[in-house]
């Protein structure tokens, strides 16, 4: 009898879901009619179903939605690369597997000469196999490789697992010291694990990772700002951006003999790479404001407005004490001349600037994270330099663990009145470990609240994840620089040490109100991912960009005068509202909001701008040079708004506007543009 009830109970569950055959249905219904106990059971199960519906579905956050949309869009746009990837995968679903087997078999052979003792449990084995199925998993290799494949694969899988476990065996050791750092991070130690990684993702059926492997550098799509009609959009709100990485990256491309992909060109970062001759602040504010209206070089009927911020210049010696934690990526991918060795040289430059009151710790991350040098006073330079010298690359990347450890060290050595900062040096690929993007961003934001900021220094080529690094730096109130050579390292770590390291104003926002009597439409050049909604300006909870000591920030607006006959996309006139215009001769009102580094309430600055009628001859050197850089960006992006932009025009203006170019950055710019012009002409012929 009990048996029948149990069988019926099972059927009842399926019956509720209408997943029973006709006979079963009859059986259940007859039984239910007769058995009150099972009837009760049936009602209870129904209630269970009804009750658990009270845990309601959640909405997808709009941030996430936007992020996915953008990435999908860029994935579609990158049709060319995608196709190649697909072709590759298609061609090789068999061949690649065979090849992989050979390579791995070789690795296993080599690896087997080392003693291995860690056993695997049956459940782990089962779990690994579990994930290898489902309709999206790759087809097994074709017959001829299957024979070899089967055995080799099993061995490899086991080896991989053993190795995996072994790498975790380090954990206890790693947390403590870097005394035997040489053998942990020597290239040999991690080799196999690294080779096995692609296999693991291949077998695990998470096919997204495959695309990543073939697809090298990651850039977020940049959608250029369009012209907006002032009547409908009188307010333009943005967060400042002091990042300069895009320029050094563009320069790297050109120096390597090719033009950068359009999405690698972020015009505001190019403009902000250069110093401008803005006066310093005088009235106790942390930065000065410079505005100028003049001609627009690439469109004779438009005008160009420059808004420049200059952060207070503080001499290195007057900086408050620093508590720095270098977080250095020593994963296998960093094992290139332009990566880890350059990181070491760059950080050495920084160490040489340190004073006794400063402190430095070094954390590395690869297959696992470890503390190489505990926080050490800045005058123990030998110790710090020796520790830097010891770093070796090898292993996969557990960025997540590294960041956590680095923050923990920074917090332990927190200097209340000082500058507490993690400096991350990496090629930007975080993939193993707890490195869920969202989780990482949250962590960085949380640490920022505690007063620990993040500077990201990007190195290297090939696997460079620009998009991720910029996001990390933004979340951590920090800045982000791309370092492609030792001169750039000097610029970032020595010359701009103040700016790179000391924040003087945070959450700096700009809001501009245009006067419809003077301006018909406007376009913000660059800053695409820094646009804020108009309500965010007065909302102190809304995060924005940081300004470092000595940093300057320049924003350019291209404006269309009110008397222009140009047509822009408009909406129908509103039926129930009539907006009256207050007479004024202003072009615009510019409002700034910023917070002192430790404040939570913002301060407001307001400035008006009137038309001066300035022509090309009266344009300042600042505007001439900034507009030349912008024009270069428009050409590289092949912008729909580039108008009559030309290499000749911008070169001519840049040459006239080199100012007192002590460090030769502007001269270098001219050389880069000249080189790019040659590539461009070659491409056209």
């Amino acid at each position: 009898m009990m048996f029948i009830h149990l069988k019926i109970k099972k059927l009842i569950s399926a019956y509720i879901d209408s997943e029973v055959t006709r006979e079963e249905k009859n059986l259940v219904e007859t039984h239910l009619a007769a058995c009150s106990r099972c009837r009760k059971y049936y009602q209870k199960l129904q209630k269970v179903s009804a009750t658990i519906q009270e845990w309601e579905n959640e909405d997808v956050s709009s941030d996430l939605e936007q992020q996915i949309r953008q990435k999908l869009l860029s994935q579609n746009v990158k049709g060319g690369t995608m196709k190649k990837t697909k072709l590759f995968v298609g061609l090789t679903s068999g061949a690649l597997a065979t090849l992989l087997v050979f390579i791995l078999a070789g690795q296993v052979y080599m690896h087997r000469t080392q003693p291995q003792s860690q056993p695997r449990t049956a459940s782990e084995k089962a779990e690994q196999q579990n994930t290898q199925r489902g309709p999206v998993t790759q087809q097994p290799p074709p017959a001829q490789s299957l024979e070899l494949g089967k055995d080799a694969m099993t061995i490899i899988r086991e080896e991989a697992q053993v190795n995996f476990l072994n790498s975790f065996g380090f954990v206890g050791k790693l947390q403590s010291v870097g005394d035997n750092i040489g053998d942990q991070y020597s290239p040999g130690a991690y080799r196999l694990e690294e080779e096995v990684m692609p296999f693991k993702s291949y077998g695990a059926g998470t096919l997204a990772e495959e695309g990543e492997e073939f697809n090298t550098e990651g850039y977020n799509r940049v959608r250029e700002n369009d012209f907006l009609e002032v009547k409908e959009n009188p307010l333009s709100t943005l967060s400042i951006d002091v990042d300069t990485a895009s320029y050094s990256n563009v320069r790297r491309f050109i120096n390597e003999g090719r033009l950068p992909p359009p999405d690698a060109v972020r015009i505001e970062e190019m403009i902000n790479y250069f110093d401008y001759n803005y006066p310093g602040p005088v009235d106790g504010t942390p930065f000065s404001i410079t505005t100028e209206i003049s001609y627009c070089p690439w469109n004779a009927s438009h005008r160009l407005v420059l808004v420049g911020l200059q952060g207070e210049r503080i001499e290195t010696q007057k900086l408050p004490p620093s508590n720095l934690v270098f977080l250095v990526d020593v994963s296998g991918s960093m094992d290139e001349a332009r990566k880890l060795p350059l990181v070491q040289s760059a950080l050495k430059l920084l160490v040489k600037q340190l004073r006794p009151q400063d402190r430095v710790a070094i954390v590395v991350y690869a297959g696992a994270a470890g503390l190489v040098l505990d926080s050490t006073p800045g005058d123990h330079k030998e110790t710090i330099l020796a520790a830097l010298e010891q770093l070796r690359a090898g292993g996969s990347t557990a960025g997540g663990a590294g960041i956590k450890l680095a923050y923990a060290i920074a917090e332990r050595n927190f200097i209340k009145t000082g500058n507490n900062r993690v400096i991350l040096a990496t090629d930007g690929d975080f993939n193993v470990g707890a490195s869920s993007d969202a989780e990482m961003e949250r962590l960085i934001e949380k640490e920022k609240e505690k007063g620990i900021f993040l500077t990201v220094a990007g190195f290297g080529t090939g696997n460079y994840k620009d998009s991720k690094m910029e996001i990390l730096a933004d979340k951590g109130n920090g800045n982000y620089a791309y370092i492609d050579n030792i001169l750039e390292a000097r610029k970032v770590f020595v010359k701009q040490i103040g700016a790179t390291i000391l924040t003087i104003a945070k959450d700096v926002k700009i809001q501009i109100e245009f006067n419809p009597q003077k301006v018909k439409a406007y376009r913000l050049i660059g800053y695409e991912n820094r646009i804020l909604s108009k309500e965010d300006f007065n909302n102190d909870k809304k995060d924005a960009g940081e300004l470092g000591a000595g940093h300057s920030v320049t924003a350019l607006y291209e404006i269309v005068p009110a008397d222009s006959t140009e047509e822009f996309a408009t909406i129908d006139p509103l039926r129930y509202q009539d907006v009256t215009v207050k007479p004024s001769t202003d072009i615009m009102t510019i409002k700034f909001r910023y917070k002192e580094p430790n404040a939570t309430e913002s301060k407001l600055l307001v400035k008006e701008l009137k038309e001066t009628g300035a022509t090309e001859k009266e344009a300042s050197e600042n505007l001439q040079f900034a507009s030349a850089v912008a024009e270069f960006g428009l050409i590289l992006r092949n912008s729909p708004h580039k108008g009559t932009a030309s290499y000749e025009g911008l070169l001519r203006r840049a040459r006239l506007a080199t100012g007192n170019d002590h460090d030769g950055y502007r001269a270098e710019f001219i050389r880069i543009v000249d080189t790019a012009r040659i590539f461009d002409e070659e491409a056209k012929n």
Partner: protein, 184 residues
């Protein structure tokens, strides 16, 4: 999906609009953590877009897409188990741990507090189920998939799906007994 495969970008947009919420909630309930679920959804859509060629016509699209998501989530759970537990001893007190909370921006009336408390208890009961039971019941109750599709997504037999759902309901019946009685 077929429309999308032959290259209609708008079809992708439609798929996104239609599936973002179900896929997100499926991942959320499976992974028990918002950050991971967000990543999983993103990954699922990228995979969908990158792997559209491997989609076979005739296959139910939802099955295919849930399978992609299933693989991503299971992979994540496995990595988490291996890495976090070994690495950080990720228990309730450590930094990386995050309980899933149901956010509610509205001010709490008494009734709302009550509703939320019930939802949290249901959530806790489901979270305590072992993974296969949890996944089966989620796919059935929240995603409303037929048994056959569940079997495909979880790559097991139809009979096993029946047993899993039955056992999940049995367990929930016991753990939610008080809650159910309260409602009456």
């Amino acid at each position: 999906m077929i429309e999308y495969k032959i290259g209609q970008a708008t079809a992708l947009e439609e798929l996104f609009v239609r599936y973002k919420k179900p896929i997100f909630n499926y991942s959320l309930r499976l992974l028990r953590n918002r950050a991971d679920a967000e990543d999983a959804v993103a990954e699922a859509f990228y995979t969908l877009s990158a792997k559209k060629e491997t989609y076979k016509d005739g296959y139910t699209f939802s099955t295919w897409f849930y399978t992609i998501t299933h693989n991503i989530c299971v992979d994540r759970l496995r990595k988490k188990k291996n890495i976090i537990s070994l690495f950080f001893k990720c228990d309730k007190d450590s930094a990386g741990y995050e309980e899933l909370v149901i956010p509610d921006p509205r001010p709490d009336s008494r009734e709302q507090a009550h509703t939320r408390e019930r939802a949290a208890r249901i959530q806790a009961a489901i979270n305590r189920l072992p993974l296969p039971l949890r996944e089966a019941i989620i796919l059935r109750e929240y995603q409303s998939l037929p048994y056959e599709e569940i079997a495909n997504v979880m790559n097991c037999s139809l009979a096993r799906v029946k047993v899993l759902i039955f056992r999940a309901r049995e367990k929930l019946k016991n753990s939610l007994a008080a809650l159910i009685a309260e409602a009456q």
